[in-house]
């Protein structure tokens, strides 16, 4: 059997003889590998972004929305009928075993003022459960307590965007701000959360005890009314159970007969997000598959050139056979040549793929993630392409009759 360094040298020389041809053949691989890496990077980036948004929202989430009113046979949108109360939220937390925590929400847009700065933001009335439900933490200060909710104290937690707009570089802890002219003490600062899956800035918000919101900010004609509830199930497997338990409990509490429609809706947010993530995954695969086609085309280009090369070098093959090259010596020589084309093309393609996805994320603003796995698999795939498409020409070469090959002009 022939030794590898010598074969490598022979192959390298053969490729160098036809520089232009080799370069063009490699171009097929370069584009293929580059496309695969860039497309996977875009896909993975999108998937990661969705995953980040899901985790920023909190995991294992259910949302309970109030139901729709029907007035004169015309059904209004969900949420038009104020059917959920703080008591419902408490009941769910206490009576549904699959539920870990509940955060009632009564929110509205309000003008807030500190000194001579003012800012319009979302003010959310809720309970301490909110931090658990949303997997949210404080960077400083303390959360409000059950006691705060009970006695409707005028304390608040600020999101990062609000802090930046009202306080600049100052420390807001302990300061007094006015929400709808009502004075509140800042007791805690929320950690940065970023965008919600819907594209809202989750840091542009102020959190106050729900009772305070009901009494001082968004007074309603229904006592104890809340807008929505966010519910966290104990774990992912409990989501369905929690949904069922909430349904049963609320139907019972709202005195809904067996034939009547619910006056509330339970939505599985986590499931929705997982669907989104699943579709991102499918998109990644699709992009990768489309890009792989160009890799395949590149491989066919290699096979084409190798077939030409074998024909051109029939005499050389004859000489080699006459002086003792065995079947596999000839095969290896041409396979290694094809491999070299695909590997060099692959390496250059990886560089192009990486820089291409960087350029994409800069120009188009898409998040791209180049995983080592995608590089490795693109590289491995290009090697496979080289072997697969190099084998037939090499096989053809090895079957030549030495006498005919020597006579070939």
């Amino acid at each position: 059997m022939m030794n590898v360094p010598a074969t490598l040298r022979i192959s390298f020389r053969a490729l160098r003889v036809n520089k232009m041809r080799s370069a063009l053949t490699m171009l097929g691989m370069i584009i293929g590998v580059g496309a695969v890496i860039a497309m996977l990077a875009v896909g993975t980036g999108a998937g990661r972004k969705i995953a980040e948004q899901i985790s920023s929202m909190g995991s294992n989430l259910l949302m309970v929305l109030p139901g729709a009113t029907t007035s004169g046979g015309v059904r209004m949108g969900s949420g038009t009928q104020p059917t959920l109360t703080l008591a419902d939220a408490d009941a769910i937390r206490k009576e549904c075993p699959a539920v870990q925590d509940v955060a009632p929400v009564l929110s509205g847009v309000a003008q807030i003022v500190y000194g001579h700065q003012n800012w319009s933001t979302v003010v959310v009335g809720t309970t301490p459960g909110m931090l658990t439900v949303r997997d949210w933490s404080l960077v400083s200060g303390r959360p409000f307590t059950e006691q705060d909710v009970k006695s409707a104290t005028k304390v608040c937690l600020l999101g990062k965007t609000v802090v930046d707009n009202l306080f600049g570089d100052m420390d807001p802890l302990g300061q007094m701000i006015r929400i709808k002219k009502v004075p509140f003490v800042v007791i805690g600062l929320l950690a940065t959360k970023g965008q919600s899956p819907q594209g809202q800035d989750q840091d542009d918000s102020v959190y106050v005890p729900v009772t305070t919101a009901q009494k001082k900010l968004f007074g309603t004609s229904f006592p104890g009314m809340i807008r929505i509830m966010m519910v966290k199930a104990k774990n992912t497997d409990d989501l369905a159970a929690a949904e069922k338990q909430i349904n049963e409990l609320l139907r019972q509490r709202h005195h809904i007969g067996p034939k009547q429609e619910n006056d509330f809706t339970v939505r599985n947010l986590t499931q929705m997000m997982e669907t989104a993530q699943e579709s991102a995954k499918v998109m990644t695969l699709l992009l990768g598959a489309i890009a792989s086609v160009s890799l395949l085309v590149g491989g066919i280009g290699i096979m084409n050139i190798m077939l030409v090369s074998v024909t051109e070098r029939t005499r050389e093959i004859g000489i080699r056979m006459a002086i003792g090259a065995k079947t596999w010596d000839i095969r290896l020589q041409f396979i290694i040549e094809a491999l070299m084309l695909s590997f060099i093309g692959g390496i250059v393609g990886i560089c192009f793929g990486i820089s291409g996805s960087k350029i994409l994320s800069i120009l188009a603003g898409w998040p791209t993630i180049i995983s080592p796995l995608s590089i490795l698999s693109a590289f491995g795939f290009s090697g496979l392409v080289g072997i697969f498409f190099g084998f037939y020409p090499a096989y053809k070469a090895s079957l030549l009759d030495p006498i005919d090959a020597l006579r070939y002009e």
Partner: protein
């Protein structure tokens, strides 16, 4: 001691629907150290016979023993191994690899014999020296004259220490003076290294360098006698 023993060798080609009897039962024994010239007109079967002797082709019938190995029993790769170790080829058209230095051309047979790089280099340099091409080892074939190219080819045939050299009209593309020089190399190799040389030629003055002359006609040996050197 017989190094080559051919018994009743026949070769039938099929050209379309017609069977062509290229060899019609050739028997021949060549001893170690002989210098044989094979002559005959085109189509006489001498090339076919040489291809069989060179293990490039297999006979249709008959037996061929090379150093007591029955070549008919060997497969493609085993034949390649025999060609590599037992036979050195010298062709009319030189058949060197283009764009490859003289040294690397000479190294080629050792490449297929798994000899390590260092030893390959040393032996190739030695062979190049022995054919009088010192200092030309880095030249490519297109930088060498016909005679020099044929010397490289001879060095390549020698390098694996094959006991037999098959030369197929080695002087066919060379002028008279260069032909003489090339033939002197063969004579020297035969006399000093006792290499068995089988030479195909058209020219009587080239055949005159040998010690035994075989003539082919219509697929048979019609003439086999020693050459008396003047």
């Amino acid at each position: 001691m017989a190094i080559i023993e051919a018994q009743e060798i026949t070769k039938i080609y099929r050209l379309g629907d017609v069977d062509v009897h290229a060899l019609g039962g050739v028997s021949l024994t060549i001893d170690k150290g002989e210098f044989v010239a094979v002559m005959g007109p085109s189509g006489s079967g001498k090339s076919t016979f040489m291809n069989i002797l060179g293990c490039l082709d297999k006979p249709t019938g008959g037996k061929y023993f090379l150093e007591d190995i029955n070549v008919g029993d060997l497969d493609r790769d085993e034949l390649a191994g025999i060609r590599n170790k037992k036979i050195g080829f010298v062709f009319q058209g030189f058949n060197l690899l283009p764009r490859t230095s003289a040294l690397e051309n000479v190294e080629l047979p050792m490449l297929y014999d798994g000899i390590p790089a260092k030893e390959r280099r040393r032996k190739a340099m030695e062979a190049i020296k022995s054919v009088g091409l010192e200092g030309r080892d880095n030249h490519h074939p297109n930088q060498l004259s016909g005679g020099q190219q044929q010397r490289v080819a001879i060095a390549r045939a020698l390098v694996n220490e094959a006991p037999i050299i098959l030369a197929d009209e080695p002087t066919g593309n060379l002028d008279t003076k260069t032909s003489g020089e090339i033939m002197e190399i063969f004579v020297k190799l035969n006399a000093e290294s006792h290499i068995t040389i089988i030479l195909v030629t058209h020219e009587t003055n080239i055949a005159a360098y040998s010690r035994r002359m075989i003539k082919f006609l219509d697929g048979r040996i019609i003439h086999d006698e020693p050459v008396i050197r003047s």
